[in-house]
Amino acid sequence: MSVEPRKKRLNKKDAYKYMTRLGWNPTYQKEEDVFPFLEMEGLKIHDWEAWEDPFRMTMDSYWKLQAEKDKKLYSIIDAFAQNNAQKNISDARYVNALKLFLTGVTPLEYKVVQGFSHAARAFRGEGASIACQMQAIDELRHFQTQVHTMSHYNKYFDGFHDYSTMHDRIWYLSVPKSFGDDASTAGPFEYLTAISFSFEFVLTSLLFVPFMSGAAYNGDMATVTFGFSAQSDESRHMTLGLSAIKFMLEQDAQNVPIVQKWMDKWLWRGYRMLGLVAMMMDYMLPNSPTSWGEAVELYIEQNCMALYKDLEKYGIKVPEKLINTIVAEKGHLSHQVWNIFYNHTNAAAFHTWMPDENKMNWLSEKYPDTFDKYYRPMFERYIELEKKGERFYSEVLPLVCQTCQIPLGFTDIEGGNPHVYTHKTSEFNGEIFHTCSDGCKEIFDAQPEKYIQAWLPPHQIFQGNCGGATIPEVLKWYKIEHGVDNMDYVGSPDEAMWNKLKNK
Protein backbone atom coordinates (compact mmCIF):
# COMPACT_ATOMS: atom_id res chain seq x y z
CA MET A 1 0.00 0.00 0.00
CA SER A 2 1.41 3.33 -0.94
CA VAL A 3 0.11 6.69 0.13
CA GLU A 4 0.53 9.70 -2.16
CA PRO A 5 2.34 12.41 -0.24
CA ARG A 6 -0.06 15.30 0.44
CA LYS A 7 0.45 18.18 -1.92
CA LYS A 8 1.67 21.41 -0.45
CA ARG A 9 -1.11 23.96 0.08
CA LEU A 10 -1.15 26.95 -2.25
CA ASN A 11 0.10 30.18 -0.81
CA LYS A 12 -2.53 32.88 -0.33
CA LYS A 13 -1.59 34.80 -3.45
CA ASP A 14 -1.92 31.76 -5.67
CA ALA A 15 -5.06 30.60 -3.92
CA TYR A 16 -6.61 34.01 -4.55
CA LYS A 17 -5.51 33.87 -8.16
CA TYR A 18 -6.96 30.44 -8.85
CA MET A 19 -10.20 31.12 -7.03
CA THR A 20 -10.86 34.52 -8.54
CA ARG A 21 -9.46 34.31 -12.03
CA LEU A 22 -11.91 32.01 -13.68
CA GLY A 23 -12.20 33.76 -17.03
CA TRP A 24 -11.39 32.45 -20.45
CA ASN A 25 -10.99 33.69 -23.97
CA PRO A 26 -13.77 32.46 -26.23
CA THR A 27 -12.48 30.50 -29.21
CA TYR A 28 -15.48 29.06 -31.07
CA GLN A 29 -17.96 31.84 -30.23
CA LYS A 30 -17.60 35.51 -30.98
CA GLU A 31 -16.73 37.61 -27.94
CA GLU A 32 -19.71 39.91 -28.52
CA ASP A 33 -22.03 36.91 -28.42
CA VAL A 34 -20.59 35.70 -25.14
CA PHE A 35 -20.61 39.19 -23.61
CA PRO A 36 -23.51 40.94 -25.35
CA PHE A 37 -23.71 43.91 -22.98
CA LEU A 38 -20.15 45.16 -23.44
CA GLU A 39 -20.79 47.70 -26.19
CA MET A 40 -24.40 48.48 -25.34
CA GLU A 41 -23.85 51.33 -22.91
CA GLY A 42 -21.26 53.11 -25.03
CA LEU A 43 -18.46 52.93 -22.46
CA LYS A 44 -14.93 52.40 -23.69
CA ILE A 45 -12.90 49.91 -21.63
CA HIS A 46 -9.28 49.48 -22.70
CA ASP A 47 -7.83 47.47 -19.83
CA TRP A 48 -10.05 45.28 -17.66
CA GLU A 49 -7.03 44.33 -15.55
CA ALA A 50 -6.97 47.88 -14.18
CA TRP A 51 -10.05 47.05 -12.09
CA GLU A 52 -9.13 47.24 -8.45
CA ASP A 53 -10.84 44.45 -6.62
CA PRO A 54 -11.87 45.62 -3.16
CA PHE A 55 -12.85 42.05 -2.26
CA ARG A 56 -9.22 41.05 -2.50
CA MET A 57 -9.19 38.36 0.13
CA THR A 58 -9.08 34.63 -0.10
CA MET A 59 -12.29 32.64 -0.07
CA ASP A 60 -10.99 30.85 3.04
CA SER A 61 -10.87 34.01 5.08
CA TYR A 62 -14.13 35.31 3.56
CA TRP A 63 -16.12 32.25 4.60
CA LYS A 64 -14.50 32.21 8.03
CA LEU A 65 -15.26 35.87 8.68
CA GLN A 66 -18.88 35.65 7.54
CA ALA A 67 -19.48 32.47 9.52
CA GLU A 68 -18.18 34.13 12.68
CA LYS A 69 -20.43 37.12 12.13
CA ASP A 70 -23.44 34.90 11.58
CA LYS A 71 -22.73 32.93 14.77
CA LYS A 72 -22.67 36.13 16.79
CA LEU A 73 -25.81 37.49 15.14
CA TYR A 74 -27.86 34.35 15.61
CA SER A 75 -26.86 33.95 19.26
CA ILE A 76 -28.07 37.50 19.90
CA ILE A 77 -31.31 36.88 17.98
CA ASP A 78 -31.82 33.78 20.16
CA ALA A 79 -31.16 35.72 23.34
CA PHE A 80 -33.53 38.46 22.14
CA ALA A 81 -36.30 35.90 21.63
CA GLN A 82 -35.71 34.01 24.86
CA ASN A 83 -35.76 37.15 26.95
CA ASN A 84 -38.92 38.52 25.34
CA ALA A 85 -36.93 41.54 24.33
CA GLN A 86 -39.79 42.86 22.22
CA LYS A 87 -41.03 44.20 25.56
CA ASN A 88 -37.92 46.34 25.93
CA ILE A 89 -38.42 48.51 22.87
CA SER A 90 -39.43 52.12 23.42
CA ASP A 91 -42.98 51.77 22.12
CA ALA A 92 -44.87 49.52 19.72
CA ARG A 93 -45.05 52.40 17.23
CA TYR A 94 -41.36 51.71 16.57
CA VAL A 95 -42.20 48.28 15.11
CA ASN A 96 -43.81 50.03 12.14
CA ALA A 97 -40.37 51.19 11.04
CA LEU A 98 -39.36 47.51 10.95
CA LYS A 99 -42.45 46.62 8.91
CA LEU A 100 -41.58 49.29 6.39
CA PHE A 101 -37.97 48.11 6.25
CA LEU A 102 -38.89 44.43 5.88
CA THR A 103 -41.41 45.06 3.10
CA GLY A 104 -39.55 47.90 1.38
CA VAL A 105 -35.83 47.29 1.70
CA THR A 106 -35.35 43.57 2.34
CA PRO A 107 -36.84 42.41 -0.99
CA LEU A 108 -34.70 45.07 -2.64
CA GLU A 109 -31.63 43.36 -1.16
CA TYR A 110 -32.78 40.20 -2.90
CA LYS A 111 -33.26 42.09 -6.17
CA VAL A 112 -29.69 43.27 -5.78
CA VAL A 113 -28.49 39.65 -5.54
CA GLN A 114 -29.90 39.12 -9.01
CA GLY A 115 -28.52 42.40 -10.30
CA PHE A 116 -24.97 41.73 -9.17
CA SER A 117 -25.07 38.17 -10.47
CA HIS A 118 -26.11 39.57 -13.83
CA ALA A 119 -23.39 42.23 -13.79
CA ALA A 120 -20.84 39.55 -12.86
CA ARG A 121 -21.85 37.52 -15.91
CA ALA A 122 -21.87 40.55 -18.20
CA PHE A 123 -18.40 41.89 -17.42
CA ARG A 124 -15.38 40.84 -19.44
CA GLY A 125 -12.85 41.41 -16.67
CA GLU A 126 -12.35 38.74 -14.05
CA GLY A 127 -11.63 41.18 -11.22
CA ALA A 128 -14.87 43.03 -11.94
CA SER A 129 -16.77 39.81 -12.29
CA ILE A 130 -15.58 38.28 -9.01
CA ALA A 131 -16.23 41.53 -7.12
CA CYS A 132 -19.84 41.49 -8.31
CA GLN A 133 -20.27 37.79 -7.48
CA MET A 134 -19.02 38.34 -3.98
CA GLN A 135 -21.32 41.29 -3.45
CA ALA A 136 -24.23 39.17 -4.68
CA ILE A 137 -23.41 36.64 -1.95
CA ASP A 138 -23.21 39.39 0.66
CA GLU A 139 -26.59 40.78 -0.36
CA LEU A 140 -28.15 37.34 -0.13
CA ARG A 141 -26.79 37.07 3.39
CA HIS A 142 -28.23 40.50 4.25
CA PHE A 143 -31.61 39.47 2.90
CA GLN A 144 -31.59 36.32 5.04
CA THR A 145 -30.32 37.92 8.21
CA GLN A 146 -32.82 40.78 7.94
CA VAL A 147 -35.69 38.33 7.60
CA HIS A 148 -34.41 36.30 10.55
CA THR A 149 -33.72 39.33 12.73
CA MET A 150 -37.23 40.67 12.30
CA SER A 151 -39.09 37.35 12.36
CA HIS A 152 -39.39 37.46 16.14
CA TYR A 153 -41.64 40.52 15.89
CA ASN A 154 -43.97 38.53 13.65
CA LYS A 155 -45.05 36.53 16.70
CA TYR A 156 -46.41 39.61 18.42
CA PHE A 157 -47.17 42.30 15.84
CA ASP A 158 -49.14 42.44 12.59
CA GLY A 159 -47.94 43.26 9.09
CA PHE A 160 -44.91 40.96 8.80
CA HIS A 161 -46.69 37.98 7.36
CA ASP A 162 -46.28 38.19 3.58
CA TYR A 163 -43.59 40.71 2.73
CA SER A 164 -42.71 39.26 -0.68
CA THR A 165 -46.28 39.39 -2.04
CA MET A 166 -46.68 42.83 -0.53
CA HIS A 167 -43.50 44.03 -2.22
CA ASP A 168 -44.92 43.07 -5.60
CA ARG A 169 -48.38 44.54 -5.04
CA ILE A 170 -48.77 47.33 -2.49
CA TRP A 171 -48.83 50.86 -3.88
CA TYR A 172 -46.01 52.45 -1.86
CA LEU A 173 -43.75 49.41 -2.25
CA SER A 174 -43.74 50.00 -5.99
CA VAL A 175 -41.38 52.88 -5.09
CA PRO A 176 -38.45 50.67 -3.97
CA LYS A 177 -39.52 47.93 -6.40
CA SER A 178 -39.35 50.25 -9.39
CA PHE A 179 -35.98 51.52 -8.20
CA GLY A 180 -34.61 47.97 -8.20
CA ASP A 181 -36.29 47.05 -11.47
CA ASP A 182 -35.00 50.19 -13.18
CA ALA A 183 -31.44 49.51 -12.02
CA SER A 184 -31.37 45.83 -12.87
CA THR A 185 -32.82 46.34 -16.34
CA ALA A 186 -30.10 48.88 -17.18
CA GLY A 187 -26.75 47.79 -18.58
CA PRO A 188 -24.16 46.39 -16.16
CA PHE A 189 -22.17 49.60 -15.77
CA GLU A 190 -25.25 51.72 -15.16
CA TYR A 191 -26.36 49.09 -12.68
CA LEU A 192 -23.07 49.41 -10.84
CA THR A 193 -23.39 53.20 -10.82
CA ALA A 194 -26.94 52.96 -9.50
CA ILE A 195 -26.36 50.46 -6.72
CA SER A 196 -22.66 50.41 -5.91
CA PHE A 197 -21.98 54.08 -6.28
CA SER A 198 -25.12 56.16 -5.86
CA PHE A 199 -26.84 53.94 -3.37
CA GLU A 200 -24.03 52.20 -1.51
CA PHE A 201 -21.50 54.99 -1.54
CA VAL A 202 -23.50 58.21 -1.61
CA LEU A 203 -26.79 57.29 0.05
CA THR A 204 -26.35 54.18 2.19
CA SER A 205 -25.40 56.22 5.25
CA LEU A 206 -28.74 57.97 4.93
CA LEU A 207 -30.47 54.61 5.15
CA PHE A 208 -28.46 52.46 7.50
CA VAL A 209 -27.13 54.95 10.03
CA PRO A 210 -30.61 56.26 10.92
CA PHE A 211 -32.07 52.77 10.79
CA MET A 212 -29.49 51.18 13.07
CA SER A 213 -29.00 54.11 15.42
CA GLY A 214 -32.79 54.42 15.51
CA ALA A 215 -32.95 50.76 16.52
CA ALA A 216 -30.42 51.39 19.29
CA TYR A 217 -32.29 54.44 20.57
CA ASN A 218 -35.50 52.43 20.68
CA GLY A 219 -34.18 49.29 22.39
CA ASP A 220 -34.16 46.95 19.40
CA MET A 221 -30.83 45.23 20.00
CA ALA A 222 -31.51 42.43 17.49
CA THR A 223 -31.64 44.93 14.66
CA VAL A 224 -28.60 46.78 15.98
CA THR A 225 -26.68 43.50 15.86
CA PHE A 226 -27.83 42.87 12.33
CA GLY A 227 -26.52 46.34 11.49
CA PHE A 228 -23.11 45.58 12.97
CA SER A 229 -23.00 42.29 11.12
CA ALA A 230 -23.78 43.93 7.77
CA GLN A 231 -21.57 46.95 8.34
CA SER A 232 -18.25 45.36 7.37
CA ASP A 233 -19.86 44.14 4.14
CA GLU A 234 -21.21 47.62 3.47
CA SER A 235 -17.72 49.08 3.78
CA ARG A 236 -16.51 46.70 1.08
CA HIS A 237 -19.52 47.56 -1.08
CA MET A 238 -18.81 51.24 -0.75
CA THR A 239 -15.23 50.62 -1.79
CA LEU A 240 -16.47 48.65 -4.79
CA GLY A 241 -18.74 51.57 -5.72
CA LEU A 242 -15.98 54.12 -5.66
CA SER A 243 -13.47 51.87 -7.43
CA ALA A 244 -16.07 51.10 -10.13
CA ILE A 245 -16.67 54.80 -10.75
CA LYS A 246 -12.95 55.54 -10.87
CA PHE A 247 -12.36 52.58 -13.20
CA MET A 248 -14.98 53.83 -15.68
CA LEU A 249 -13.70 57.41 -15.51
CA GLU A 250 -10.04 56.46 -15.85
CA GLN A 251 -10.51 54.11 -18.80
CA ASP A 252 -11.50 56.78 -21.32
CA ALA A 253 -12.35 60.48 -21.28
CA GLN A 254 -15.38 59.71 -23.44
CA ASN A 255 -16.86 57.78 -20.54
CA VAL A 256 -17.12 60.88 -18.34
CA PRO A 257 -20.39 62.37 -19.70
CA ILE A 258 -22.06 58.94 -19.71
CA VAL A 259 -21.10 58.28 -16.11
CA GLN A 260 -22.13 61.80 -15.12
CA LYS A 261 -25.65 61.21 -16.47
CA TRP A 262 -25.93 57.96 -14.55
CA MET A 263 -24.63 59.56 -11.34
CA ASP A 264 -27.20 62.37 -11.62
CA LYS A 265 -30.05 60.03 -12.44
CA TRP A 266 -29.38 57.63 -9.60
CA LEU A 267 -28.66 60.31 -7.04
CA TRP A 268 -32.16 61.63 -7.70
CA ARG A 269 -33.90 58.25 -7.84
CA GLY A 270 -32.16 57.19 -4.59
CA TYR A 271 -33.02 60.44 -2.89
CA ARG A 272 -36.69 60.19 -3.81
CA MET A 273 -36.86 56.62 -2.50
CA LEU A 274 -35.24 57.72 0.77
CA GLY A 275 -38.26 59.94 1.41
CA LEU A 276 -39.49 56.78 3.17
CA VAL A 277 -36.46 56.98 5.46
CA ALA A 278 -37.09 60.69 6.11
CA MET A 279 -40.50 59.95 7.58
CA MET A 280 -39.15 56.97 9.47
CA MET A 281 -36.53 59.13 11.16
CA ASP A 282 -38.80 62.03 12.06
CA TYR A 283 -42.11 60.30 12.75
CA MET A 284 -41.88 56.53 13.11
CA LEU A 285 -39.12 56.38 15.73
CA PRO A 286 -40.51 57.20 19.17
CA ASN A 287 -36.98 58.27 20.12
CA SER A 288 -35.27 60.01 17.21
CA PRO A 289 -31.52 60.36 17.44
CA THR A 290 -31.21 62.62 14.38
CA SER A 291 -33.65 64.51 12.21
CA TRP A 292 -33.84 64.06 8.45
CA GLY A 293 -32.80 67.72 8.07
CA GLU A 294 -29.63 67.11 10.12
CA ALA A 295 -28.88 63.94 8.14
CA VAL A 296 -29.10 65.88 4.85
CA GLU A 297 -26.68 68.46 6.24
CA LEU A 298 -24.17 65.79 7.19
CA TYR A 299 -24.49 63.24 4.38
CA ILE A 300 -25.46 65.43 1.42
CA GLU A 301 -24.19 68.94 2.10
CA GLN A 302 -20.89 67.75 3.59
CA ASN A 303 -20.02 64.15 2.64
CA CYS A 304 -21.61 64.02 -0.80
CA MET A 305 -20.21 67.40 -1.81
CA ALA A 306 -16.71 66.36 -0.67
CA LEU A 307 -17.02 63.21 -2.77
CA TYR A 308 -17.99 65.15 -5.88
CA LYS A 309 -15.01 67.46 -5.24
CA ASP A 310 -12.76 64.38 -5.24
CA LEU A 311 -14.15 63.36 -8.61
CA GLU A 312 -13.75 66.82 -10.15
CA LYS A 313 -10.29 65.88 -11.43
CA TYR A 314 -11.98 63.45 -13.83
CA GLY A 315 -14.33 66.16 -15.11
CA ILE A 316 -17.31 65.16 -12.96
CA LYS A 317 -19.48 68.13 -12.01
CA VAL A 318 -21.64 68.58 -8.93
CA PRO A 319 -25.29 68.16 -9.98
CA GLU A 320 -26.08 71.54 -8.49
CA LYS A 321 -29.73 71.67 -9.49
CA LEU A 322 -30.49 68.35 -7.84
CA ILE A 323 -28.48 69.09 -4.72
CA ASN A 324 -30.14 72.51 -4.37
CA THR A 325 -33.57 70.87 -4.49
CA ILE A 326 -32.55 68.23 -1.92
CA VAL A 327 -31.28 70.96 0.39
CA ALA A 328 -34.33 73.18 -0.20
CA GLU A 329 -36.67 70.27 0.60
CA LYS A 330 -34.86 69.19 3.78
CA GLY A 331 -37.24 71.05 6.09
CA HIS A 332 -40.37 69.76 4.34
CA LEU A 333 -39.75 66.26 3.04
CA SER A 334 -40.44 64.08 6.07
CA HIS A 335 -43.64 65.99 6.93
CA GLN A 336 -44.95 65.73 3.39
CA VAL A 337 -44.21 62.00 3.12
CA TRP A 338 -45.76 61.32 6.54
CA ASN A 339 -48.84 63.23 5.39
CA ILE A 340 -49.07 61.00 2.31
CA PHE A 341 -49.00 57.90 4.49
CA TYR A 342 -51.42 59.40 7.03
CA ASN A 343 -53.88 60.07 4.16
CA HIS A 344 -53.57 56.52 2.85
CA THR A 345 -53.09 54.44 6.04
CA ASN A 346 -56.26 52.55 5.15
CA ALA A 347 -54.28 50.90 2.34
CA ALA A 348 -50.91 50.43 4.08
CA ALA A 349 -49.43 47.37 5.77
CA PHE A 350 -48.41 49.40 8.82
CA HIS A 351 -49.93 51.97 11.14
CA THR A 352 -49.54 55.73 11.25
CA TRP A 353 -50.55 58.24 13.91
CA MET A 354 -50.38 61.90 14.68
CA PRO A 355 -47.37 62.94 16.75
CA ASP A 356 -48.07 63.76 20.41
CA GLU A 357 -47.23 67.14 21.93
CA ASN A 358 -43.66 66.09 22.86
CA LYS A 359 -42.97 64.91 19.34
CA MET A 360 -44.53 68.06 17.87
CA ASN A 361 -42.21 70.13 20.06
CA TRP A 362 -39.21 68.08 18.95
CA LEU A 363 -40.25 68.67 15.32
CA SER A 364 -40.62 72.42 15.99
CA GLU A 365 -37.16 72.48 17.49
CA LYS A 366 -35.57 70.53 14.61
CA TYR A 367 -37.50 72.40 11.92
CA PRO A 368 -37.88 75.95 13.29
CA ASP A 369 -38.54 77.47 9.86
CA THR A 370 -41.10 75.03 8.58
CA PHE A 371 -42.87 72.78 11.07
CA ASP A 372 -44.97 75.30 13.03
CA LYS A 373 -45.76 77.32 9.93
CA TYR A 374 -46.76 74.64 7.46
CA TYR A 375 -47.36 71.33 9.23
CA ARG A 376 -48.34 71.69 12.90
CA PRO A 377 -51.66 73.45 12.11
CA MET A 378 -52.53 70.77 9.59
CA PHE A 379 -51.67 67.97 12.02
CA GLU A 380 -53.63 69.67 14.80
CA ARG A 381 -56.65 69.69 12.53
CA TYR A 382 -56.23 65.94 11.96
CA ILE A 383 -56.09 65.45 15.74
CA GLU A 384 -59.30 67.48 16.10
CA LEU A 385 -61.00 65.24 13.55
CA GLU A 386 -59.71 62.13 15.34
CA LYS A 387 -61.19 63.40 18.60
CA LYS A 388 -64.55 63.75 16.88
CA GLY A 389 -64.25 60.15 15.70
CA GLU A 390 -63.65 61.25 12.11
CA ARG A 391 -60.06 60.13 11.57
CA PHE A 392 -59.29 61.07 7.95
CA TYR A 393 -58.58 58.30 5.48
CA SER A 394 -58.54 59.11 1.79
CA GLU A 395 -61.30 57.36 -0.13
CA VAL A 396 -59.69 58.10 -3.48
CA LEU A 397 -56.35 57.38 -5.07
CA PRO A 398 -53.43 59.72 -5.63
CA LEU A 399 -51.76 60.81 -8.84
CA VAL A 400 -48.32 59.22 -8.73
CA CYS A 401 -45.11 60.22 -10.49
CA GLN A 402 -44.34 58.28 -13.66
CA THR A 403 -40.67 57.98 -12.64
CA CYS A 404 -40.39 57.63 -8.85
CA GLN A 405 -43.99 56.39 -8.39
CA ILE A 406 -44.51 58.51 -5.26
CA PRO A 407 -47.76 60.55 -5.06
CA LEU A 408 -47.21 64.13 -6.24
CA GLY A 409 -47.01 65.45 -2.69
CA PHE A 410 -43.82 67.50 -2.88
CA THR A 411 -44.18 71.27 -3.07
CA ASP A 412 -42.33 73.97 -4.94
CA ILE A 413 -39.98 75.17 -2.19
CA GLU A 414 -37.31 76.67 -4.43
CA GLY A 415 -39.92 78.58 -6.42
CA GLY A 416 -41.20 80.12 -3.20
CA ASN A 417 -44.48 78.17 -3.25
CA PRO A 418 -44.21 75.74 -0.34
CA HIS A 419 -47.99 75.23 -0.42
CA VAL A 420 -48.24 74.24 -4.11
CA TYR A 421 -47.56 70.72 -5.36
CA THR A 422 -44.85 70.55 -7.98
CA HIS A 423 -46.15 69.02 -11.17
CA LYS A 424 -44.35 68.49 -14.48
CA THR A 425 -45.61 66.94 -17.68
CA SER A 426 -44.05 65.29 -20.71
CA GLU A 427 -45.51 63.90 -23.87
CA PHE A 428 -44.55 60.68 -25.61
CA ASN A 429 -46.25 58.76 -28.39
CA GLY A 430 -49.33 61.01 -28.13
CA GLU A 431 -49.87 60.48 -24.41
CA ILE A 432 -49.29 62.76 -21.41
CA PHE A 433 -47.02 61.66 -18.55
CA HIS A 434 -46.94 63.34 -15.16
CA THR A 435 -43.89 63.67 -12.92
CA CYS A 436 -43.31 65.16 -9.46
CA SER A 437 -40.16 67.20 -10.05
CA ASP A 438 -37.58 68.41 -12.56
CA GLY A 439 -35.36 65.51 -11.47
CA CYS A 440 -37.99 62.87 -12.28
CA LYS A 441 -39.07 64.65 -15.49
CA GLU A 442 -35.49 64.69 -16.80
CA ILE A 443 -35.13 60.99 -16.08
CA PHE A 444 -38.40 60.28 -17.91
CA ASP A 445 -37.50 62.48 -20.87
CA ALA A 446 -34.10 60.82 -21.29
CA GLN A 447 -35.58 57.30 -21.63
CA PRO A 448 -39.35 57.60 -22.14
CA GLU A 449 -39.56 54.13 -23.73
CA LYS A 450 -38.55 52.70 -20.37
CA TYR A 451 -40.80 54.66 -18.02
CA ILE A 452 -44.00 54.44 -20.07
CA GLN A 453 -43.96 50.78 -18.99
CA ALA A 454 -44.13 51.70 -15.31
CA TRP A 455 -46.58 49.60 -13.29
CA LEU A 456 -48.33 52.49 -11.55
CA PRO A 457 -50.55 51.15 -8.75
CA PRO A 458 -53.56 53.53 -9.12
CA HIS A 459 -53.66 52.94 -12.88
CA GLN A 460 -53.39 49.19 -12.42
CA ILE A 461 -56.27 49.26 -9.92
CA PHE A 462 -58.35 51.25 -12.44
CA GLN A 463 -57.47 48.76 -15.17
CA GLY A 464 -58.87 45.99 -12.99
CA ASN A 465 -55.60 44.19 -12.35
CA CYS A 466 -55.53 44.35 -8.56
CA GLY A 467 -58.35 42.20 -7.27
CA GLY A 468 -61.25 44.58 -7.79
CA ALA A 469 -62.42 48.18 -7.80
CA THR A 470 -63.12 48.69 -4.09
CA ILE A 471 -60.64 49.26 -1.28
CA PRO A 472 -61.57 45.96 0.53
CA GLU A 473 -61.02 44.00 -2.69
CA VAL A 474 -57.65 45.62 -3.30
CA LEU A 475 -56.60 45.08 0.33
CA LYS A 476 -57.43 41.42 0.01
CA TRP A 477 -55.25 41.22 -3.08
CA TYR A 478 -52.50 43.06 -1.17
CA LYS A 479 -52.81 40.36 1.56
CA ILE A 480 -53.59 43.06 4.08
CA GLU A 481 -56.17 42.23 6.72
CA HIS A 482 -58.44 45.23 7.06
CA GLY A 483 -58.59 46.61 10.60
CA VAL A 484 -55.56 44.59 11.63
CA ASP A 485 -52.55 45.39 9.47
CA ASN A 486 -53.74 48.85 8.33
CA MET A 487 -55.43 51.91 9.91
CA ASP A 488 -54.27 54.16 12.73
CA TYR A 489 -52.00 52.82 15.47
CA VAL A 490 -54.51 54.03 18.03
CA GLY A 491 -57.11 51.31 18.31
CA SER A 492 -55.00 48.72 16.48
CA PRO A 493 -54.37 45.14 17.65
CA ASP A 494 -50.68 46.15 17.86
CA GLU A 495 -51.56 48.79 20.43
CA ALA A 496 -53.70 46.32 22.37
CA MET A 497 -50.88 43.75 22.34
CA TRP A 498 -48.38 46.35 23.53
CA ASN A 499 -50.62 47.46 26.37
CA LYS A 500 -50.97 43.84 27.39
CA LEU A 501 -47.21 43.26 27.25
CA LYS A 502 -46.62 46.36 29.36
CA ASN A 503 -49.50 45.60 31.75
CA LYS A 504 -51.05 48.95 30.94
Binding site: M40, N429, E431, I432
Partner: protein, 119 residues
Amino acid sequence: MATQSIGEYPIIMKDSLDKFHGNQLVFIYWYGHRVVCSPRAFPLPPDMPFGALVSDIIPLCYKVEPDFKDLDFDKTEVIWEIDGKVVVPDFSKSLKENGVGHKSFITFITPSLTGKVGA
Protein backbone atom coordinates in the same frame (compact mmCIF):
# COMPACT_ATOMS: atom_id res chain seq x y z
CA MET B 1 -29.22 58.79 -23.25
CA ALA B 2 -31.85 56.96 -25.23
CA THR B 3 -32.80 53.60 -23.79
CA GLN B 4 -30.04 51.16 -24.65
CA SER B 5 -30.80 47.57 -25.39
CA ILE B 6 -29.23 44.57 -27.10
CA GLY B 7 -32.31 44.07 -29.26
CA GLU B 8 -35.22 46.12 -30.47
CA TYR B 9 -36.75 48.09 -27.59
CA PRO B 10 -40.53 47.68 -27.59
CA ILE B 11 -42.91 50.61 -27.08
CA ILE B 12 -45.35 49.39 -24.42
CA MET B 13 -48.04 51.96 -23.62
CA LYS B 14 -48.97 50.55 -20.22
CA ASP B 15 -51.69 53.11 -19.53
CA SER B 16 -53.19 53.79 -22.95
CA LEU B 17 -56.86 54.75 -23.16
CA ASP B 18 -57.98 51.33 -24.43
CA LYS B 19 -57.03 49.66 -21.14
CA PHE B 20 -59.50 51.56 -18.94
CA HIS B 21 -62.77 49.89 -19.97
CA GLY B 22 -64.30 52.97 -21.60
CA ASN B 23 -63.05 55.39 -18.96
CA GLN B 24 -60.23 57.85 -19.22
CA LEU B 25 -57.83 58.90 -16.50
CA VAL B 26 -58.46 62.37 -15.09
CA PHE B 27 -56.41 64.10 -12.42
CA ILE B 28 -57.83 66.79 -10.15
CA TYR B 29 -56.03 69.33 -8.00
CA TRP B 30 -57.45 72.06 -5.74
CA TYR B 31 -54.59 74.51 -6.02
CA GLY B 32 -52.75 75.23 -2.77
CA HIS B 33 -54.62 72.70 -0.67
CA ARG B 34 -52.41 70.25 1.19
CA VAL B 35 -54.57 68.35 3.67
CA VAL B 36 -55.31 66.09 0.73
CA CYS B 37 -51.73 64.96 0.24
CA SER B 38 -51.47 65.07 -3.57
CA PRO B 39 -53.58 65.63 -6.70
CA ARG B 40 -56.15 62.86 -7.10
CA ALA B 41 -56.66 60.30 -9.87
CA PHE B 42 -59.99 59.04 -11.28
CA PRO B 43 -61.14 56.79 -14.11
CA LEU B 44 -64.09 58.71 -15.59
CA PRO B 45 -66.32 58.27 -18.64
CA PRO B 46 -65.44 60.90 -21.27
CA ASP B 47 -69.17 61.56 -21.72
CA MET B 48 -69.69 62.44 -18.08
CA PRO B 49 -70.89 66.03 -17.69
CA PHE B 50 -68.22 68.38 -16.39
CA GLY B 51 -70.67 69.43 -13.69
CA ALA B 52 -70.49 65.96 -12.15
CA LEU B 53 -66.91 66.74 -11.15
CA VAL B 54 -68.30 69.56 -9.07
CA SER B 55 -71.27 67.70 -7.64
CA ASP B 56 -69.79 64.22 -7.11
CA ILE B 57 -66.05 64.00 -7.49
CA ILE B 58 -64.67 67.11 -5.80
CA PRO B 59 -66.69 66.62 -2.58
CA LEU B 60 -65.53 62.99 -2.46
CA CYS B 61 -61.88 63.93 -2.33
CA TYR B 62 -61.86 67.43 -0.84
CA LYS B 63 -64.48 67.43 1.90
CA VAL B 64 -61.71 67.08 4.48
CA GLU B 65 -60.16 70.47 3.55
CA PRO B 66 -61.14 73.21 6.03
CA ASP B 67 -61.98 75.48 3.06
CA PHE B 68 -64.50 73.01 1.70
CA LYS B 69 -67.39 74.35 3.81
CA ASP B 70 -66.93 77.78 2.15
CA LEU B 71 -66.61 76.42 -1.37
CA ASP B 72 -69.76 77.16 -3.32
CA PHE B 73 -69.40 76.74 -7.06
CA ASP B 74 -72.29 79.17 -7.63
CA LYS B 75 -70.71 81.94 -5.58
CA THR B 76 -66.99 81.31 -5.05
CA GLU B 77 -64.67 82.64 -7.73
CA VAL B 78 -63.07 79.63 -9.38
CA ILE B 79 -60.39 79.68 -12.08
CA TRP B 80 -60.29 76.41 -13.99
CA GLU B 81 -57.24 75.09 -15.78
CA ILE B 82 -57.19 72.04 -18.03
CA ASP B 83 -53.68 70.86 -18.84
CA GLY B 84 -52.25 74.23 -17.89
CA LYS B 85 -54.65 76.35 -19.96
CA VAL B 86 -57.21 78.58 -18.29
CA VAL B 87 -60.73 77.66 -19.46
CA VAL B 88 -64.34 78.46 -18.65
CA PRO B 89 -65.93 75.03 -18.56
CA ASP B 90 -69.51 74.39 -19.55
CA PHE B 91 -70.82 72.27 -16.69
CA SER B 92 -73.63 70.82 -18.80
CA LYS B 93 -71.29 69.59 -21.52
CA SER B 94 -69.18 66.44 -21.28
CA LEU B 95 -65.60 66.18 -20.12
CA LYS B 96 -64.62 65.47 -23.71
CA GLU B 97 -66.49 68.50 -25.07
CA ASN B 98 -64.73 70.64 -22.47
CA GLY B 99 -61.36 69.45 -23.75
CA VAL B 100 -60.62 66.95 -20.98
CA GLY B 101 -58.69 64.07 -22.54
CA HIS B 102 -57.02 60.90 -21.29
CA LYS B 103 -54.66 61.80 -18.42
CA SER B 104 -55.73 65.46 -18.40
CA PHE B 105 -54.80 67.44 -15.32
CA ILE B 106 -57.57 69.70 -14.05
CA THR B 107 -56.65 72.42 -11.58
CA PHE B 108 -59.20 74.64 -9.87
CA ILE B 109 -57.94 77.78 -8.20
CA THR B 110 -60.04 79.62 -5.63
CA PRO B 111 -58.41 83.02 -4.93
CA SER B 112 -60.54 83.58 -1.83
CA LEU B 113 -59.86 80.09 -0.44
CA THR B 114 -56.14 79.50 -0.39
CA GLY B 115 -55.86 76.33 1.62
CA LYS B 116 -54.81 77.94 4.85
CA VAL B 117 -55.10 75.50 7.74
CA GLY B 118 -55.42 76.55 11.35
CA ALA B 119 -54.66 80.04 12.67
